[in-house]
């Protein structure tokens, strides 16, 4: 049996603002939204009949079945197996309870579909929209504790593991498909979303970590940053390689700062130091990922010196370096010529 629920004309919204006009249609309440009903002192709020026609407590879920007006809706109870339960309001009030039967607190929630959930996560990544922010997915996992019990951990554990793995490899190492130890089991990852849904997450800039089997190493299916628009910004390994070169150059030149005056000899020295660093960064090879840079050279060095370069502030040296960074081998297009 359906239950008719009548709400007041105004309510207090989630920000605590009272007197907000209540309009279920404007809230987009629709058939199928879940209703959560609570009442102090009444347990259960609803009863139903069991297979033997005996009245028992209703333990299923309530869903909106009709939105009648701005403040009135119908709801029905559904059993765990999806069948409709013939519920009715429980009129038995426990001793000591003071509630007025029929007056109950309601909450209506819209259950998001998997596609809606993907859109929600993708929107978060898009909002970050920065090569410096890695939104690591999934949001939870299972670990095995020392007693052998499964324990739920949130996604920050996965972030800590990925950060550790990243620190163990050269900065230019791509993390796409590169396994590392993580949770024993991932939640809300490739066991939850489809390939197309995970593609949508990756396209939005979510770093989706997946797992082939429980207990296996985890890996990023694509090492995306949340800046999905520019290739060089969207690949985590390029971002970290650029940072590595930037930090190395700072450390290379920093010992000379302030102690030397701007002279032609000093400009030559900086040029030479930078060139030699770039040579080193280019020549040192690491397994899989190769060198930190593909190529790099000093394209210019200038300062306000000897009456030249007056556009620069006094005491500033402008060093321009051109660098090509290694890019991950993400795709192989094979042209098979058949004859």
């Amino acid at each position: 049996m359906a239950i008719v629920v009548t709400l007041p004309q105004t309510y207090t919204d989630e920000t605590g603002t009272p007197g907000v006009v209540l309009d279920l249609l404007d809230m987009q309440v629709a058939i199928g939204d879940e209703v959560i009903a609570l009442a102090a002192g009444v347990d259960p709020i609803f009863t139903t009949k069991d297979a033997l026609d005996v009245e028992v407590a209703f333990t299923g879920k309530l869903y909106v079945t009709q939105v009648v007006s701005e403040q009135v809706f119908h709801m029905e109870g559904y059993n765990a197996d999806g069948t409709v339960a013939l519920i009715k309001i429980n009129t038995t009030v426990k001793a000591g309870a003071t509630i007025n039967v029929g007056t109950v607190t309601y909450q209506i929630v819209h259950l998001l579909s998997r596609n809606d959930q993907v859109a929600d996560v993708a929107a978060v990544a898009t909002a970050f929209g920065s090569k410096r922010v890695n939104l690591v997915w999934p949001d939870a996992g299972i670990v095995i504790d020392d007693q052998g019990n499964e324990q739920l951990v949130n996604g920050t554990f996965l972030c800590a593991a990925l950060a550790g793995a990243k620190s163990a490899y050269p900065a230019q190492q791509s993390f796409t498909n590169l396994g590392f130890p993580g949770p024993y089991k991932l939640r809300h990852s490739n066991d939850y979303f489809t390939k197309l849904q995970m593609d949508d997450l990756s396209a939005a800039g979510v770093n989706v970590v997946v797992q082939d089997a429980d207990g296996a190493q985890v890996y990023s299916r694509h090492q995306r940053t949340t800046d999905a628009a520019v290739f060089e910004n969207s690949e985590l390994s390029i971002v970290t390689a650029v940072d590595k070169v930037s930090l190395d150059l700072i450390e290379t030149i920093k010992p000379f700062m302030g102690k030397y005056n701007i002279t032609q000899n000093f400009l030559n020295l900086v040029d030479e130091m930078s060139t030699q660093y770039l040579f080193s960064a280019k020549s040192q090879q690491a397994p899989m990922c190769g060198s930190l840079i593909v190529d790099g050279k000093v394209e210019g060095i200038r300062a306000q010196f000897n009456g030249q370069n007056l556009d620069l502030a006094p005491g500033v040296i402008e060093l321009t370096i051109g660098c090509e960074f290694p890019k991950p081998a993400n795709y192989v297009n094979i042209k098979l010529l058949i004859s």
Binding site: V5, D33, A163, S280
Partner: protein
Amino acid sequence: MAYLLPGVRVEQILRRPNANLVEVDMLPTIVGPVYRVVRNRKMRSQGTLPIYRFIANWDVFTVALCPGAAILRPRTGDFYTITNTDTIAPTAAISVNVGTVGVPVNVSLKAGDSVMFDGTAWIKKVTMGPVYTFGFPILDPGAKPDPNSTEIWLKDAWAEWISTTTGANLAVAGTVYQSGFLAGQNFFVDKTRNFLQDGVKIGDRLWVGEVKGGNGYYIIDKVEQNTLYFRNDVYKTIPAGAAVGYSILRFYSAFQIDSLDYLTYVTTDTVEVDIFAHVTYDQNNNPVSHPFYSGEVEVSYRALRADFVGLKRYVSSLEVEAVMENDVWNPMGFALCRGTFAANGNARPALAYCLAEDTDSAYIDALAELATYKKTYILVPLTQSSQVTNAFAAHVVHMSEQASSYFRIAMVSRKLTTQKTLLPTTIGTMTNLV
């Protein structure tokens, strides 16, 4: 190795500054609180009765109301649960007289206890919380226990499900058995009770002591409304005449106390526990508690460490485990040992910024100090709060601008949203659709 003739040799090396000489640390930095974790600490050992009888059977005696308790303004039949705001009496205690024995007993009432009144404003029934109070065994200076993670267990414990002073003696009409214990039968009848309503289960033990004419425990094999069936036959008849009671006990190898029975009573360094197995409702819908009277008490908890804050540097999981627990209840230790160091094989150091509080503002405040520390590179906040992750995102972008040149990135996690609230909690009325 090939043979070399003794002699002097020179290897000429062209010296170049290279990347190795200017190697910079790009260290992961885990940001979060540190908790002291205590697991399964035995607070009270199993022992001999009556020390572990936490509760007297107040609910089966008629007790007199003391002066002052009348402020509760009871009505006949009310079942009154005392709240934190009630003033019980000037003495905060009532003197009760056990009806059948006549021994006055002082009982200190507290929030959560219940009293029931009869028509003469005498207390008809008192459901006392079988209270056990203990201090948290390990608390670091300034540490705050986390009530939400506190678990209290009873191990190898017996709970008293039913305790009655009547119903065990034999009742016959003529020569026809009606109720009570009759030797040779494998069942027993008490027409005054509804064992199904009482929640008696197969495997529970019924106890009739020798002093009452019985012979100890009977294991219950089947439960009907007024009848209990036993695995063995009744050994000895309990004769008609004086009222003789029995108890029904339930064994728990491990029972976790409902957090509602202690959460209210967690203070900074002690916890007060109501040791109930369960609460059921009798035929009049009055709550009936089922207290434990024996068992080991174990506590597990975590406490936020206020003495362990700021930026730390670790080179291995062993070093971390020496100073904090590698336990899922301590996300910092767990993330470092089982996450960061497990993933890098203890090959690279890691940083930990330990917070004094587990709040969003503490995370955000940490960024101010991290802004001055150059060695950090990958920032990982141990929270999924949108406010914190947004702040970390803004921080890494700002710090990586040319003016700062403290290049860094953030790895963040956000919780999956599976539902959207359309109508927040609102009071309404409902009727059955006719």
